[in-house]
């Protein structure tokens, strides 16, 4: 599609704009700074914080640049004495809502409010905090909401609505409406964490797991293992100013070792196992006329969404566990046996791009012989905070290899972190399983990319598979409606709750937006392209496991598979 371009003038400088862009978007594209807080490119502008006001020649008054479309020939001024004064007062009013608890705030390293306070030279205590007695609460084991820090931009409410979850809402309290969880029995949190990465203040954060993990490491009694998810390696660098989409796998390993943990495993290896099992299950469902389409289940936000909002679709979910759970289980069974360590003495920590993963690990049905496969989850953002606490700087650290105990993963395991990646990996292996040959064209481009909804038809030996790949739960909702209309149309469906898949996950660094998600995904595909092995079934580690441990069906069943349950509301306030 041809984009219509024209010029506008901002602060005396002529810049190029695309039709449909707001003034703020044009400014951001051209590195012109306009203070802003409530704007997020994923959401319709609410224009509520009033910090991004600008003046436009020929128009009266000030206009919020986030909600005013750029028009050809516009002449815009972004700053003058009066505008700074107005911004300053509005920011002081924002601080009057936000209780500063900077000392124990996980966002204090990169707080947007404080940054603006410095830029605009505001007195953050000019007005008394009006939310001093506002409550704190947690949603499951995943998300912490300190409502005394909330500035009422309502981005969280918007994004929760966009996810079709509508758990976060507003309630009238005296003369105000305040953000709160819904009391509606039919609405519950799915822990996706999109509220967290759309919150400009730190009012919404992941539930802290650093404290307990730090204690276990310090105690020194357990064999601690950190295992890192695919989508963490191309995002954590952002926290250390390394740019977007930079591959930092081996730097992460080195950084983790500085925290006193030697063993750093790669969850991508387990993703290869998930691929094997999922491809097998898909083939079986097709051959035995089982329930179709089969849904992926690596995304715990999506799983909770199905269990709570669409329990009638539970039979469609693959019984294969997610990579982190499968891997933790394997570590505490096969690996523990091999190393001669009591599984009770192993402490597995997953580094995940995700807040819902904190929920997944405490699901009772995941237990193997009484043990949870994974003991704790740190989000990407938490791991960065953990490292910063110990002055570990990934930008300067010397890379170190991951722990070789588990061998390398294939490229297929790495792309799990981007929407479409699970599907592509499964297809690569399904083709092999059905034909005995690898697909001629290894890259399934139709399922790649950040579009919210993708589709492909794959012909394997006369068998025609129609697959759909969606990210974002609103798109999943639409797809479910479509499936109900025509249950035989699709055979395989991949859903990731977060936009763009795990690279846009709720535990990823801030900011996260469309452009950033794209660069993060590119990083993952670059790793895949560079891998010698790009098929799960060719991974020597996978072959080894199937020869030595998964040769026993019982082991496959207990380590790789699970079940799902219709869920009642878990978060009642």
């Amino acid at each position: 599609m041809e984009m219509e371009r024209f010029n506008i003038t901002i602060n005396g400088k002529e810049v190029s704009a695309v039709k449909g862009q707001t003034i703020l978007e044009v400014a951001l594209d051209n590195d012109i700074k306009i203070p802003n807080l409530c704007f997020h490119s994923d959401l319709k502008p609410s224009a509520s914080c009033r910090l991004c006001v600008v003046s436009i020649e020929g128009r009266r008054g000030y206009h919020t640049s986030c909600s005013t479309l750029a028009e050809e020939g516009m002449v815009i001024t972004t700053d003058n004495e009066e505008m700074s004064r107005l911004r300053k007062t509005n920011l002081e009013l924002l601080f009057a809502q936000h209780r500063e608890r900077c000392n124990d705030c996980i966002k204090s390293n990169d707080c947007r409010l404080l940054e603006l306070a410095e830029d605009l030279k505001v007195n953050i205590a000019r007005f008394k905090d009006r939310k001093e007695n506002f409550p704190e609460m947690s949603f499951g084991p995943s998300i912490h909401f300190d409502s005394s820090k909330c500035i009422d931009c309502k981005n969280c409410v918007e994004v929760c609505k966009k996810q079709n979850v509508c758990f976060l809402t507003t309630r009238e309290n005296g003369p105000f409406f305040q953000v709160c969880p819904s009391s509606d029995k039919g609405r519950d949190c799915v822990y996706c964490g999109q509220c967290v990465i759309h919150c400009p203040t730190g009012a919404l954060q992941e539930v802290d797991s650093i404290t307990k993990i730090e204690a276990v490491i310090k105690e020194g009694k357990k064999t601690v293992i950190f295992q890192i998810a695919p989508a963490v390696r191309t995002t954590i660098g952002e926290e250390f100013g390394m740019g977007y989409g930079v591959i930092a796998t081996e730097k992460i390993a080195a950084g983790i070792r500085k925290l006193g943990v030697d063993r750093v495993f790669d969850v991508c290896a387990a993703a290869d196992l998930v691929t094997m099992e999922e491809a097998q299950e898909l083939i079986e469902r097709i051959t035995n006329k089982g329930v179709l389409p089969m849904f992926t289940s690596c995304c715990p936000g999506w799983v909770k969404f199905v269990e709570f909002y669409h329990p009638e679709m539970i039979p469609n979910l693959t019984t294969v566990r997610s990579p982190q759970i499968l891997f933790g289980g394997l570590t505490k069974t096969f690996w523990a046996g091999k190393e001669g360590i009591d599984p009770n003495d192993i402490y597995v920590v997953s580094i995940m791009p995700c807040t819902a993963k904190k929920y997944e690990v405490v699901r009772e049905e995941m237990k193997i012989d009484g043990n949870f496969p994974v003991d704790a989850v740190l989000t990407t953002h938490e791991l960065a905070c953990f490292m910063k606490k110990y002055d570990v700087d990934l930008s300067t650290i010397e890379p170190e290899a991951l722990t070789p105990a588990w061998g390398d993963s294939s490229g297929a395991g790495v792309i799990y972190g981007a929407s479409g990646g699970v599907t592509e990996s499964a297809l690569r292996t399904a083709v092999y399983k059905l034909t005995g040959q690898n697909p001629a064209n290894i890259e399934f481009q139709e399922v790649r990319g950040l579009q919210e909804s993708k589709e492909a038809v794959v012909n394997i030996n006369g068998l025609s598979l129609r697959v759909a790949v969606v990210n974002g739960l609103d798109n999943a909702e639409k797809l479910i409606a479509k499936i109900k209309e025509d249950p035989t149309y699709y055979q395989y469906i991949e859903v990731m709750a977060c936009p763009g898949g795990c690279i846009g996950g709720g535990g990823q660094p801030l900011p996260t937006d469309k452009k950033i998600r794209k660069l993060r995904a590119q990083g993952l595909y670059k790793i895949d392209t560079g891998k010698e092995k790009r098929f799960a079934h060719e991974n020597p580690f996978v072959k080894d496991i199937y020869e030595k441990f998964f040769n026993d069906e019982h082991n496959v069943h207990k380590v790789c598979h699970t079940r799902y349950l219709k869920k009642d509301k878990e978060n009642n306030f």
Partner: protein, 333 residues
């Protein structure tokens, strides 16, 4: 040009909601707007305190209002019109209105909660989603209004006079509600051109004591002194409240305004949500920090999302300026 547009243009009538926009222009722009469907909203929210002219009209002249709406329906070939009334007006008049409306495509609906629910774009959001929040303008409702379709929103009094105009029975009149420290509070029909001083005298309400008035609404109306009443009301809505200057506690008066605002606004934008609350705190404590007050009024006036927030400034600025507030009681400003 259609007959009705000519009549409206010739009458020179301005909208009676308060903004004072020429009625014929609004009608014409909705008429010219492209859309397969068009809607009409007759705004009888009348949510501001001390304004009660629309209530008087809907009680006494419902046929005229319905006729005015019907003229608009025919002119625009509108799909449907909404007669939007506040809780009391709805409760007291609905039954009769439904009877009078008969088969016409007019639905009588009850206003959403809060003062902001009377703002035209908030009405559209309320009808569509049940959520009371104003919209960013542009686009203007005449192009993209209710359900995204061109929509004509006029004040209830405006529709009343449209009916009169179509019958050649206008006489350049308007309705005024008068209350406060007066002997004969009520609604009065008078010439548009009557000076406010004459209006008070003609209705027997001109005080014998030192006084000031608040014009166009008891929350966002402007404060005026007796010597300022020698001209007619230009825009604004027809409402005058008289205050005995000696007996009026200005802090109480300000608290009355600002309490109404903090409970009646939508809380969307920072100046109107937080700024008004901080004014409320100072007024209630009877201790106003001048610098803070001026900063707050400034952001309200210049950065509020909608007219409600901008309007907060009008009574405060005029009170401070005209009533020599710096010498008042223990007011430290």
């Amino acid at each position: 040009m259609e007959q009705i547009i000519l009549q409206l243009k010739e009458s020179g009538i301005l909208g009676r909601g308060g903004a004072g926009f020429p009625v014929w222009q609004k009608w014409e722009s909705v008429s010219n707007a492209v859309g397969d469907e068009k809607y009409i909203i007759c705004n009888g929210a009348e949510g501001e305190p001390d304004v009660f002219k629309d209530g008087y009209i809907i009680k006494n002249y419902p046929e005229e209002v319905i006729n005015g709406i019907n003229i608009a329906i025919n002119f625009l070939s509108a799909k449907k019109a909404y007669l939007y009334l506040n809780h009391n007006y709805y409760r007291d008049n609905r039954e009769r209105l439904v009877e009078l409306i008969g088969d016409l495509p007019i639905e009588v609906i009850e206003k959403g909660k809060g003062y902001i629910a009377g703002e035209e774009s908030a009405i559209c959001n309320f009808i569509e989603t049940g959520i009371v929040e104003p919209r960013q303008k542009p686009p203007f409702l005449s192009n993209v209004g209710l359900f995204g379709k061109p929509t004509l929103v006029n004040n209830l009094e405006t529709f009343y006079y449209v009916s009169k105009i179509s019958k050649g029975d206008y006489g350049k009149k308007r309705l005024f509600s008068i209350n406060g420290d007066v002997s004969d509070a009520g609604v009065f029909e008078e010439s548009e051109e009557v000076t406010l001083e004459d209006l008070l005298r003609k209705t027997g309400n001109y005080p014998e004591f030192d006084f000031f008035v608040q014009v166009s609404g008891g929350a966002e109306g402007v404060i005026m002194l007796p010597e300022e009443l020698k001209s007619p009301l230009a825009g604004g809505c027809g409402a005058i409240k008289v205050f005995n200057r000696e007996k009026t506690d200005l802090f109480e008066l300000m608290q009355y305004w600002i309490e109404f605002i903090i409970y009646g606004n939508c809380d969307k934008c920072v100046p109107c949500r937080e700024g008004t609350y901080r004014i409320y705190e100072m007024v209630k404590a009877r201790n106003i920090d001048k610098e803070k007050m001026l900063d707050l009024l400034d952001v309200l006036e210049k950065t509020s999302f909608c007219a409600l927030g901008r309007g907060v400034v009008i009574p405060f600025r005029s009170l401070i300026l005209k009533l020599k507030f710096e010498d008042y009681g223990d007011g430290k400003i």
